[in-house]
């Protein structure tokens, strides 16, 4: 397509190049690059399933254009941690049963990560407010709330150690 251009995206610490037209969303670009852990739920910014961190801030990647992200640090849920070195949020989501169908989990965890960077000791209501843009149909948010709270505790403890 004539309006396409190559864009270099720094995804989970690695530079990746993709040729995309101006209207291509970050969500589509990431998935085309194989980052299918970023989920497509509505493509309208209603559900939050596609959330990623762009320079540390959680954004709906379906509302963000790929061209705008050149030079930014993009972090998906897979960039936060893995089985060998899990992020406290991931550990808490597993241990406390916060993932059911798991389709909202990548966006939910990323949104929580962005939020916990700002608020280290949140109340239940802080967490509810922060995650209100991330829909879940399975959990009633109960165990998600527990997990985020527990992760905040783990992160404070880790912070205290260093």
């Amino acid at each position: 397509m004539s309006n396409s251009k190559p864009v270099t995206l720094c995804i989970n610490g690695r530079n990746e190049e993709i040729n995309v037209p101006a209207h291509r969303t970050l969500l589509e670009a990431l998935r085309d690059l194989g980052h299918v852990e970023v989920k497509r739920g509505c493509e309208k910014g209603d559900c939050g399933a596609c959330a990623v961190l762009v320079d540390g801030v959680a954004l709906d990647s379906c509302l963000t254009l790929a061209w705008m992200c050149e030079g930014s640090e993009i972090t998906t849920v897979s960039g936060l941690g893995n089985a060998q070195d899990p992020h406290p949020l991931q550990t808490a989501f597993i241990d406390l049963g916060a993932a059911q169908c798991g389709y909202c989990s990548p966006g939910m965890i990323v949104a929580a990560k962005g939020f916990l960077e700002e608020v280290t000791d949140p109340t239940d209501d802080d967490i509810r407010m922060a995650l209100s843009g991330n829909l879940c149909r399975c959990t009633g948010y109960a165990k998600i709330l527990d997990a985020v709270k527990h992760a905040a505790l783990l992160m404070r403890e880790e912070g205290g150690k260093s």
Binding site: E37, C42, E43, C47, T76, S78, R137, G140, L145
Partner: protein, 779 residues
């Protein structure tokens, strides 16, 4: 979470190393690290991208469909219309329904001439990219001639109403008759009559429908898709005119189902296009496609006429149910039966008359949704119980107590469930936990509390065939493999099988791998629906694992020269109880069995004994294998000026028989509370002449994290269920009593009832205005 040690609690019937504990699910790590691949995450080299062209009105004749401009677009590979479709669908038989009105069970793959609902598929496009497919969709031209439609089931029943299909709009009917309801109502001290209405509901799973299909070297159409039922390969094969063994469904972990992925969604589109083009094809629904592309929850109109004696006994009940079936039948006859069987609730009513009818309209077709008619019935009967108690001037809990079904009592169809009936215990515990009646609040914001009890079946209808198979094997290193066709739709179905195998074979969870949801290589275990998976496939897995255990312990007993019942299997080790020195690893025992030709694998089937259909006139017989009982209590605040409702507390008490994974059980309860709360308060599908005007998640409002209180779960374990270890089920029961509990709490808060869900602020304000008006007229 509270685990209640109720006096009736029966003792655990097995020595359990992990059953019943809150354990991390085996599917959780993949989901939180992002390594789980959902159906829409798969691609193939050379694949084409599909999209669906849909009708933009609900009732019309398709006069012309011109795809030539679209076909001419560079990059468009194929466009299919009804003319290209293979043999007509084979119509499914509906047990207990004569189908004399001639209506089709399901919509055709693509509409040929008559459009019967908004969004009905007209054409399929396959192109080299998503963008091109989308551009081609804009270029498809069609001419529709509007035909008078009907959008209200009551209108559709009137003489002269447009007939959707065949010769009548009444597409299914079910009756239940017991005793003499008419005579009992005549002799009643009071008769209370009310009509309740429940709305359409969208499943709103976070994962829109998606799939990838290709034809392989054996001419088998492979379809990788998110589905609750891999057995659809047969219906797909019939629809596209190939033998059953030429279609394979490979499911995936499903990003939420709730019944919305129980019927075929996009499988047939994928199958026809893959065969036609010979290339892999991929189709992902947009959210709007998902809203218009799968069946909804049946809206029901439920008229209740209850006769009671002054002492509070219910002497007779007459129920009339009208269900909006939409443009095609789908699962309506079954959903209708669930509603009819459930309609008296968990109460003993000897004189009962139920007449339920499903009516065709030009609305979106309706089909399976968690609770399946029984939850809509609960929304009515538990509000009715409160209204009857009001007339009797009795405490509603005490009124219920006079009428509960108790263990050993027959349900509406005359069948005595094998399991315990602990409604009373659950209601008392939930009501106590919420603190009983709320104190009246001053000011415009009122506080109210409500409760609802329920009966919800688990297991498929008893007159339908139901079997489930599972294969279990012990590897030479002592790890365990389970193969089962079960679809995990997010509730932890696979993890539960893992636990069951681990429990029986004495290994830890991480030593078990489950291969699931592939119609070619995993034994068929039926659909994930009807709260049947743990019951059916759990039993099959247990049976298979036990057969292996028997052979292994027999061989170990020989090796150690002890009796077979002396052998223990735990932590991957096989040992003699009496002598700790006599032990070997499970792997070592497996190798001995290999050398001697003792099988370490087993394929087991669990079969639900098929019963005769219910009597068509009286509805008497066995409808379901067993039932779950429980209650939900809710506290709300209602702003009487704005109509705003906040759910402050939400407490569930369920007798689930036996927890397999306590955390997963709580998860079901918490999600059910959310799903039911949305149904009661905010989820509204608005249609204008059949056209959905709320096809997005910003217009269709399901509860967010801001709307949900912390749900409290009180879990009772009667260990009386017919599932593994005495389990019943919790998938559907979790939602069933929630909406009427919310409705009763609102009525308690504001002193007036809203008879139509969702109970929106507008409806509350209107009801309060009406109440003031009628109070003004009286004074």
């Amino acid at each position: 979470m509270t685990c209640v040690d109720y006096p009736d609690q029966t003792a655990p019937n097995v020595k359990r190393s992990q059953i019943g504990k809150p354990l991390p699910r085996t599917d959780a790590p993949g989901k939180v690290f992002g390594s789980t691949r959902f159906a829409g995450d798969h691609t193939m080299p050379g694949m084409l991208h599909m999209c669906v062209v849909r009708a933009n009105v609900a009732s019309a004749i398709l006069v012309a469909l011109d795809v030539e401009k679209a076909r001419a677009l560079k990059g468009v590979v194929e466009i299919l219309t009804a003319a290209d479709m293979p043999t007509p669908d084979v119509q499914e038989e509906i047990s207990g329904q004569d189908r004399t009105n001639g209506a089709d069970t399901e919509s055709p793959i693509l509409a040929a001439e008559r459009i019967r609902y908004y969004g009905e598929p007209l054409a399929l496009i396959a192109a080299e990219s998503r963008d091109i497919a989308e551009q081609a969709r804009q270029l498809v031209e069609f001419e529709l001639k509007p035909v008078r439609g009907v959008y209200d089931p009551l209108e559709a029943m009137k003489p002269g109403a447009p007939v959707i299909q065949g010769n009548s709009n009444i597409v299914a009917e079910r009756k239940i008759r017991k005793g003499d309801a008419a005579a009992a109502l005549e002799n009643a001290d009071f008769i209370i009559e009310n009509t309740f209405r429940t709305p359409f509901q969208e499943h709103a799973f976070l994962e829109p429908e998606a799939g990838l299909a290709w034809v392989d070297e054996n001419d088998v159409v492979n379809i990788r898709v998110c589905t609750q039922d891999i057995a659809h390969f047969r219906a797909i094969a019939d629809a596209i005119g190939v033998p059953h063994n030429k279609v394979r469904i490979r499911g995936a972990l499903v990003g939420g189902g709730f019944g919305g992925k129980e019927d075929c969604t996009l499988e047939k589109f994928l199958a026809v296009m893959a065969r036609k083009t010979g290339r892999p094809v991929r189709l992902e629904y947009s959210r709007e496609d998902s809203f218009v592309g799968h069946g909804k929850r049946h809206p029901l109109i439920l008229r209740y006429k209850t006769g009671v004696m002054k002492d509070g006994t219910i002497c007779g009940l007459d129920v009339e149910i009208i269900a909006d079936s939409g443009a095609y039948l789908y699962l309506s006859p079954y959903v209708l039966l669930y509603a009819a069987v459930a309609s008296p609730g968990p109460y003993r009513i000897d004189n009962l008359n139920v007449r339920a009818r499903a009516v065709a309209t030009n609305n979106m077709y309706t089909s399976a949704f968690r609770g399946y008619g029984a939850m809509q019935a609960c929304a009515a009967y538990e509000q009715q119980m409160e209204e009857v108690a009001k007339v009797l001037e009795m405490d509603p809990i005490e009124f219920r107590r006079l009428n509960y079904l108790r263990t050993g009592d027959p349900v509406a169809t005359g069948f005595v469930p094998p399991g315990a009936i602990w409604t009373e215990q659950c209601v008392d515990l939930a009501w106590k936990a919420i603190g009983g009646r709320a104190k009246p609040a001053q000011g415009p914001v009122k506080i109210g509390r409500g409760i609802a009890a329920y009966q919800q079946s688990y297991g498929r209808l008893s007159f339908l065939d139901d079997s489930s198979e599972a294969w279990v094997g012990v590897e030479l290193d002592g790890t365990v493999i389970v193969r089962s066709g079960v679809a995990d739709i997010g509730a932890g179905q696979v993890s539960a099988l893992c636990q069951i195998a681990a429990e029986i074979l004495g290994v830890s969870l991480d030593k078990v791998t489950v291969y699931s949801t592939d119609s070619a290589v995993t034994p068929m275990s039926g659909r994930t629906a009807a709260t049947r998976t743990l019951y059916m496939t759990g039993n099959a897995t247990k049976k298979a694992a036990e057969a292996i255990r028997t052979r292994l312990t027999h061989r170990a007993a020989q090796a150690f020269d002890v009796r077979q019942d002396e052998i223990e299997m735990a932590d991957g080790t096989v040992a003699a109880k009496s002598n700790p020195g006599l032990s070997m690893s499970l792997g070592a025992l497996a190798k001995i069995c290999r050398d001697e030709g003792i099988s370490r694998t087993e394929l087991a089937m669990f079969h639900q004994t098929m019963q005769d259909n219910l009597d068509p006139e009286t509805g008497q017989g066995q409808a379901h294998p067993d039932y779950v009982y429980g209650a939900h209590a809710v506290e709300v605040s209602v702003d009487t000026e704005t109509g705003e409702v906040c759910v402050l507390r939400s407490i569930a008490a369920h007798d689930i028989g036996q927890c397999i994974n306590r955390a997963a059980v709580e998860g079901q309860i918490e999600g059910g509370a959310q799903n039911g709360q949305g149904f009661a308060l905010s989820e509204e599908m608005l249609y204008e002449e059949g056209r959905l005007i709320t096809p997005s998640l910003s217009e269709y409002l399901m509860p967010t994290s801001m709307d949900m209180p912390r749900v409290e779960s009180i879990i009772l374990e009667s260990r009386s269920g017919i599932g593994p270890f005495g389990a019943k089920g919790i998938g559907e029961p979790a939602i069933t009593p929630v909406a009427p509990a919310v409705a009763n709490a609102i009525a308690d808060a504001i002193g007036v009832r809203v008879y139509q869900m969702p109970i929106t602020p507008e409806r509350i304000v209107n009801a309060l205005a009406q109440k003031r008006q009628s109070a003004g007229q009286m004074s």
